[in-house]
């Protein structure tokens, strides 16, 4: 039930809301700075918003920020994960049902749209919504009325809809799994949240933010991250995005001693990372055989790199360290130095 007594934390029309948004949507990357400006602007109106971004980038954070900066902030924010609710229950969850509307419906029940009355409903993973329900949602958006399951009466609702998807809905429209008319109705304001690996410069800022939260929560022990460990955190691709980073920071904060997160506590995946292809060089010839050419290139590549590193990039000196003529060294560098040795993922195109 919507709480009618809830008081707004700030005046709904207070323009100083941007301070609050910086505390929830963390980062200094230009794309994030722009995103915050857009959120602050969008919050003032009532238009439908479609948020797109990979899993873990903070789509719900964005939706909540829009709600909390909007004049609706004192009213409920109701998140609905369309993928988590069984298909045949989703309609009655969203719009409610009448007594006897279907087997087991012993009483009437209010839907989430009614629960969000005066506030915001956040429809996450909207791409998973069944087609028939998409049609009903479209009608709700156009008429501002919901019809509960088993009822012939439509009831006016005042709800702002924010939808989110972790993939490009335009491609679902092309594939025919998402209604084109609903797509255009939803994306009146499209908001794209970039993945973390596209804005790595925000990683140290986010890490500090999460460590600050941990310190505030648990007795004030402020944990720091060593320079080297931060380089590893920075270099990892974070497929689970900000959520994965947050979980990792929490885990590392528990694992570390001396209040410093250093390289030894990092899990191996953060250090070797999925990026460099590692080729194993067995001491003895395995029964399954080997790819000798690939291994020779790997060894050459490793030594060439080490030699270049030791000589600060001086190729003449690096060649000497490896007992090679400069021309031979250049030859090998061309093959190994730039392009990863044995890069099986690196098929030449015809």
């Amino acid at each position: 039930m919507p709480e009618k007594t809830a008081q707004p934390e700030e005046q709904p029309d207070a323009p100083g809301g941007s301070g609050a948004i910086e505390r929830v949507l963390i980062g200094q990357h230009p794309a994030i700075v722009k995103l915050r400006a857009l959120i602050a602007k969008v919050a003032l109106g009532d238009v439908t918003v479609l948020i797109t971004g990979e899993s873990g980038v903070g789509k719900e954070v964005v939706a909540r920020a829009i709600h909390s900066l909007s004049p609706r902030r004192a009213r409920p924010f109701v998140p609905v994960n369309c993928a988590a609710i069984p298909r045949d229950l989703l309609e009655s969850e969203m719009f409610g049902h009448e007594r006897g509307a279907f087997t087991g419906a012993s009483g009437s029940r209010q839907g989430l749209f009614n629960a969000a009355s005066g506030g915001t409903i956040f429809l996450d993973e909207i791409g998973e919504m069944p087609m028939d329900l998409q049609a009903k949602l479209l009608r709700v958006l156009e008429d501002g009325e919901v019809r509960s399951v088993g009822s012939d009466r439509a009831v006016k609702v005042d709800v702002r809809v924010i939808a989110a998807s972790n993939h490009d809905l335009a491609s679902s429209v092309r594939k025919g799994t998402f209604r084109e008319d609903l797509f255009y109705r939803l994306q009146v304001v499209p908001i794209v949240v970039p993945p973390l690996r596209e804005r790595r410069s925000d990683i140290p800022i986010l890490v500090d933010h999460f460590l600050g939260l941990i310190a505030a929560r648990g007795g004030g022990r402020q944990i720091t991250v060593s320079r080297e460990a931060m380089v590893h955190l920075w270099s990892y691709d974070w497929p689970g995005n900000v959520r994965e980073l947050e979980n990792m920071v929490e885990r590392l904060a528990i694992l570390c001693d001396d209040s410093v997160i250093d390289t030894p506590v990092l899990p191996p995946i953060l250090i070797s990372g999925p990026r460099p292809p590692v080729i194993e060089i067995p001491a003895n010839l395995p029964a399954a055989g080997i790819n000798l050419r690939m291994i020779v290139r790997e060894i050459e590549g490793r030594y060439i790199n080490q030699a270049l590193k030791q000589t600060g990039g001086n190729k003449q000196a690096a060649a000497k360290l490896l007992g090679l003529k400069r021309t031979t060294f250049d030859d090998k560098l061309r093959r190994c130095g730039v392009i990863a040795p044995g890069g099986t993922d690196d098929k030449e195109e015809p």
């Binding site: 304001v189 410069s201 931060m230 270099s235 130095g337 730039v338 392009i339």
Partner: protein, 158 residues
């Protein structure tokens, strides 16, 4: 203000600058970028990089740190200190395990690292990530100005 690469036609091919004083490495990078449909712009010195960056809209800079004749960090600092070039993402090419170089790069505000040796796929993925986020930022800016225009029209009573 034109901050390099930020206000350009999104339909044209991305212009990627390669800063490397080694002609062999530079050539390989240029070829791979060309094959992906990008427009590579090669610079073989820091001063050439700064000159070319002023001339043309560069979207991303690939900067090789292992250049004996040039201080890549110094160049990076110069790019980041100039408001006209500060926004261009710089991808630093370093040795794969060079922690110190990466730490310094992070401090200077680089966008990403590419560890040598890298595959073509890694090179392209790294460049594409920066182009993607530039595109996202452009879209956000466009949506923002569209909303602001709508607001103005409404206030003016149409």
């Amino acid at each position: 203000m034109t901050t390099g690469g930020r206000h350009v036609d999104p339909n044209r091919s991305a212009r990627i600058m390669v800063v490397d004083d080694d002609p062999d490495t530079s050539l390989i990078l240029v070829r791979h970028l060309e094959r992906e449909g990008f427009v590579p712009v090669a610079a073989n010195s820091g001063s050439e990089c700064l000159r070319l960056v002023r001339d043309g809209a560069i979207d991303v800079i690939l900067l090789d740190l292992m250049m004996p004749d040039m201080d890549g960090f110094e160049l990076c600092r110069t790019l980041k200190e100039n408001p006209a070039t500060a926004a261009i993402p710089v991808i630093l090419i370093t040795a794969r395990d060079d922690i110190e170089a990466r730490a310094e790069g992070m401090r200077l505000g680089v966008a990403d690292f590419l560890g040598k040796p890298f595959s073509r796929r890694q090179l392209i993925a790294c460049v594409r990530a920066q182009l993607e986020v530039l595109a996202t930022e452009r879209k956000t800016t466009a949506t923002l100005s569209r909303i602001e225009d709508d607001g103005k029209q409404k206030r003016n009573g149409r």
